[in-house]
């Protein structure tokens, strides 16, 4: 940028052309009655069954649900049939060798043309033979003779068939039969799915996403276990054509939110998309302030939890992290552990996290403000010990603090980058030996080591890495403000920071919701209520289904 452009930029008025998307109220009412498919029977006509399945699974857009039509041979006759399964959740060998091969290929079983009818009894009277026969039953024949599987169930309703398919089974539909066969061919990736490395919890599942998109979608699909989960495939990147799966609950998620996510993803004009972090930056509302607006997780259970709340999850091929949108401030301070713990413990941890945020952001700035401008706030004894500790230190306090802060960040970065066996060694050497040596050499005061250490520990208590990172960066700003004007600087800094987060929107949802603007969040605030009280989904997401559970969820208590 040359001087002319700089001057032009400063003195020319540029009106704001902000992109402003807001979630609209969905046309479907919040308390839409449950789908009636529970009692829908399977039709004896194959074309009707295909239509029904196509509608239920949105096969035109749902990429991982496979409907394979074929001709089945039975007793020399041919019947139209199809199988339905979810790619990634079934064992392809089982489907090919023990389902399709016996049914499609001609073999002794299906070509057998002997007595077609089973003779139950036979009697001869007046030289006339009377045979009591059982008529040929295709369903029984398929189950007992053609499908060499240990677990084959006959189902009469779509709901049962779909439930099996969602959990990794394969449904077989045959023309003329008003039943379907639920064949157990589960084969989703299991052990290759690793434990989470960055979002570790004590109570709860220990599965993490892997790099394969289909494995990841199957992980989500398996937990959601409902046909209303839509997984749409999109491609991003002109060269890489990276597959991204946009996942949402058809009957819960706000349609305009889904449309907005797809709109943004379809309008990314880049050559290659290599990571979820890149996509996050490409679709978030603003990247000016460095505050994360999209959640990122490696945990399928966390992704599912948010899916069922009415959010959209985007899984990117080649990445073990998925993106969850929209996200609010409180989501970044929530841990997957919260739902597994009792309410009291979870809320205690949440309160701790707020303190951690305040300490991470403000402690160094506060320390410098108190020691430089507001000494009266300290009790006399502590003031004396602080002054005595600093007596030998030749540097000004800001320099001392910045040295320690940068050293801490350096140790943290080095600990992350070095190979894991020597990572802890680096931390110990950095933290203990260097810290002790710096105090002994009178480069820093011991009390400052405590301040920096508490700040560092607090930053580790923040569940979301990106959110913690932004606090670490903003901490330097508050340190400088505290040094410049004490509490005045920090107070004004906090005000600007609050204004800034009040200005941010994540996919049409206010970042500070449900506190500002104030709204009835229906028990979806920062602190979580007991699980039986979590009746409603967050109102700021405008979900199609507001209720998440019935008014009295613990019916056993009231019976």
């Amino acid at each position: 940028m040359n001087l002319k452009q700089i001057i032009k930029k400063i003195f020319t008025y540029n009106p704001n052309n902000e992109y402003n998307f807001s979630i609209l109220e969905d046309s479907i009412g919040p308390n839409k009655p449950e789908d009636k498919q529970q009692s829908e029977k399977i039709f004896p006509r194959l074309d009707l069954n295909i239509q029904s399945i196509e509608t239920k699974y949105n096969l035109l857009i749902n990429s991982d649900v496979i409907l394979k039509q074929f001709t089945l041979n039975a007793r020399g006759k041919q019947y139209n049939a199809f199988i339905l399964y979810i790619d990634g959740m079934v064992d392809t060998t089982l489907v090919n060798d023990f389902l399709l091969k016996p049914l499609m290929l001609r073999n002794q079983n299906n070509l057998f043309d002997g007595n077609q009818n089973k003779i139950l009894s036979e009697s001869v009277s007046n030289n006339v033979t009377v045979r009591k026969i059982k008529k040929f039953n295709l369903a029984e024949y398929v189950e007992t003779c053609l499908v060499p599987q240990n677990s084959v169930k006959k189902v009469q309703e779509f709901a049962d068939a779909i439930s099996g398919v969602n959990s990794g089974d394969c449904a077989l539909f045959i023309d003329t039969l008003d039943i379907a066969f639920d064949v157990d061919v589960k084969g989703f990736k299991q052990r290759s799915v690793d434990t989470p490395t960055n979002e570790i919890i004590i109570k709860g599942p220990h599965e993490a996403f892997v790099e394969n998109i289909r494995t990841n979608t199957s992980l989500v699909r398996r937990i959601v276990n409902n046909e209303n989960l839509i997984i749409e495939n999109l491609e991003v990147g002109k060269i890489s054509k990276t597959k991204c799966a946009v996942c949402y609950m058809k009957n819960i998620t706000n349609s305009s939110l889904v449309a907005e996510v797809k709109y943004r993803m379809n309008n990314i004009d880049i050559d290659s998309l290599l990571s979820s972090g890149q996509l996050e930056q490409l679709i978030e509302d603003t990247d000016m302030y460095g505050i994360p607006q999209i959640l990122s997780t490696e945990r399928p259970d966390k992704a599912t939890k948010y899916l069922l709340q009415g959010r959209v999850v985007v899984i990117i091929n080649g990445n073990p992290y998925c993106l969850i949108m929209p996200a609010t401030l409180i989501d970044f301070l929530s841990s997957p552990e919260d739902t597994n713990l009792s309410t009291l413990f979870a809320n205690f941890l949440k309160a701790l996290r707020i303190i951690a945020v305040v300490l991470t952001l403000l402690l160094p700035g506060m320390y410098i403000a108190v020691t430089s401008f507001h000494q009266e706030i300290l009790p006399t004894e502590i003031l004396f010990s602080t002054l005595a500790a600093r007596e030998q230190v030749p540097f000004p306090i800001i320099f001392e603090l910045l040295i320690m802060d940068f050293s801490f960040e350096l140790i943290r970065e080095a600990g992350l980058r070095v190979p894991s066996p020597i990572g802890p060694t680096i931390s110990i050497v950095g933290a203990l030996i260097l810290g002790d040596a710096a105090v002994n050499a009178n480069i820093v005061s011991p009390i400052l080591i405590i301040v920096v250490a508490i700040t560092g520990i607090s930053s580790f208590a923040i569940p979301d890495f990106s959110f913690g990172f932004h606090l670490r960066v903003y901490r330097f700003v508050f340190t400088l403000l505290g040094f410049t004007a004490g509490f005045l600087g920090i107070g004004l800094g906090i005000y600007v920071y609050i204004c800034l987060i009040c200005n941010i929107k994540s996919f049409g949802v206010q970042y500070t919701a449900p506190f500002a603007p104030a709204m009835n969040s229906k028990n979806n605030g920062y602190f979580i209520p007991p699980i039986w009280k979590q009746e409603y989904r967050a109102t700021f997401l405008s979900p199609k289904k507001e209720k998440a559970q019935s008014h009295i969820s613990m019916k056993w208590k009231n019976n």
Partner: protein, 370 residues
């Protein structure tokens, strides 16, 4: 969802922010010096009158759904009246912001920054106001919603933490300087409820404009409770001679808070909260001035008006050369401006507009005046 629409809580917080910021500074001192030991009775009395006035304003605005006072002035007297009233309100807001900023910064200077020129302290505030005004109206209103409860809680905490220092005898004589001083000349304390000025500007911004009356009454009642707490703290802690001498009486009260040997001087923590509150208040005044300017000039991109407005605030805040002139600004000029503009001219405009409205046929379209 329409932009720039605010909910009921945001509206209440908006009205409260004026009361809070004036209370933190010189308002309690003014009230105590006027009515002495009858201050509490006086505040209840003027509070009831303020509720009546706010109900009156809401009723007068009822016929003009979604209209603010500037639109009503356009309806009544065309563009001329609109421009005059608009400029008067801009001047009132900017003057109020400037004088409050000067008072607050002088207190800060005396308490903590004795070696710093007041100009730098004022400039710090104005830079912050500039930054936040660029975030927009919604952002500031939401921030205010978050800050106001903290500021309110700070006063409640101040009251509770100081109860051991209270001398309840100071309420006597209960009528202070007499009936006339409490109920007649004490009417001037109506300025304590100056937050009702925003009632004139709220209707176009409200999501539920039919709830204006509810908002008005709730905010005046909360202000009343808030003022009672702050005046009680000062009245029970200091005799009124001391109270009227203190630069920031509530700040002085904060210095007496003690919890054991460890928490002894929490005044700077209170100051931290009040700094945020004041910065937010000045931003609100500037953003409202900008929106009035937009209305009276019909300019599309009004963001640039922030520069002259900030310069005017800087100028006003640098005008008082000493504390007594600053007090004159705050206690005399601001008070008269409030009575003349907010309770005089604006109410008259509303009443006349209602009379005019009753004479025009119902079918006529009011929207052309917006």
């Amino acid at each position: 969802m329409t932009n720039n629409k605010i909910g009921n809580f945001e509206a209440i917080a908006l009205i409260l922010t004026i009361v809070i910021n004036h209370t933190v500074l010189t308002l309690p001192k003014t009230i105590v010096s006027t009515t002495k030991s009858s201050s509490l009775i006086n505040i209840v009395y003027v509070g009831i009158i303020a509720i009546c006035i706010s109900i009156l304003i809401c009723n007068l605005l009822k016929k003009f759904v979604g209209f603010d006072i500037i639109d009503v002035a356009t309806f009544l007297g065309g563009n001329t009246l609109r421009n005059i009233l608009g400029i008067l309100f801009i001047v009132y807001f900017l003057f109020s912001a400037g004088s409050l900023l000067h008072n607050f910064c002088s207190c800060l200077q005396i308490a903590f920054y004795s070696l710093t020129n007041i100009l730098f302290l004022i400039l710090l505030f104005l830079i912050v106001v500039y930054i936040t005004c660029n975030f927009g109206f919604n952002s500031i209103i939401k921030t205010n919603l978050l800050i106001v409860p903290i500021a309110l809680l700070s006063i409640v905490f101040l009251f509770i933490a100081n109860t051991k220092n209270f001398n309840l005898q100071r309420i006597f004589p209960i009528l202070g300087d007499g009936f006339s001083a409490t109920f007649v000349s004490g009417l001037s304390n109506l300025v304590a409820f100056s937050g009702i000025v925003f009632l004139y500007f709220l209707p176009p911004y409200l999501k539920e404009s039919e709830k204006l009356k509810k908002i008005a009454v709730s905010s005046v009642i909360i202000s009343l409770v808030y003022l009672l707490l702050s005046i009680s703290t000062i009245l029970f802690m200091f005799n009124f001679f001391t109270a009227t001498e203190e630069l920031m009486p509530l700040y002085s009260a904060a210095r007496y808070i003690e919890f054991g040997n460890f928490f002894q001087r929490l005044d700077s923590v209170f100051l931290l909260i009040w700094i945020m509150s004041l910065a937010c208040y000045v931003s609100i005044l500037v953003i409202f001035s900008m929106s009035i300017m937009k209305k009276i000039t019909n300019i599309k991109h009004y963001n640039s008006t922030i520069y002259p407005f900030l310069l005017i605030i800087l100028g006003v805040s640098l005008l008082p050369s000493n504390a007594s002139i600053a007090n004159l600004f705050e206690n005399v000029i601001y008070k008269y401006a409030y009575f003349i503009l907010v309770l005089g001219i604006s109410l008259t405009v509303l009443i006349l507009a209602n009379l005019k409205h009753s004479k025009i046929p119902e079918s006529s379209n009011l929207k052309e005046y917006k």
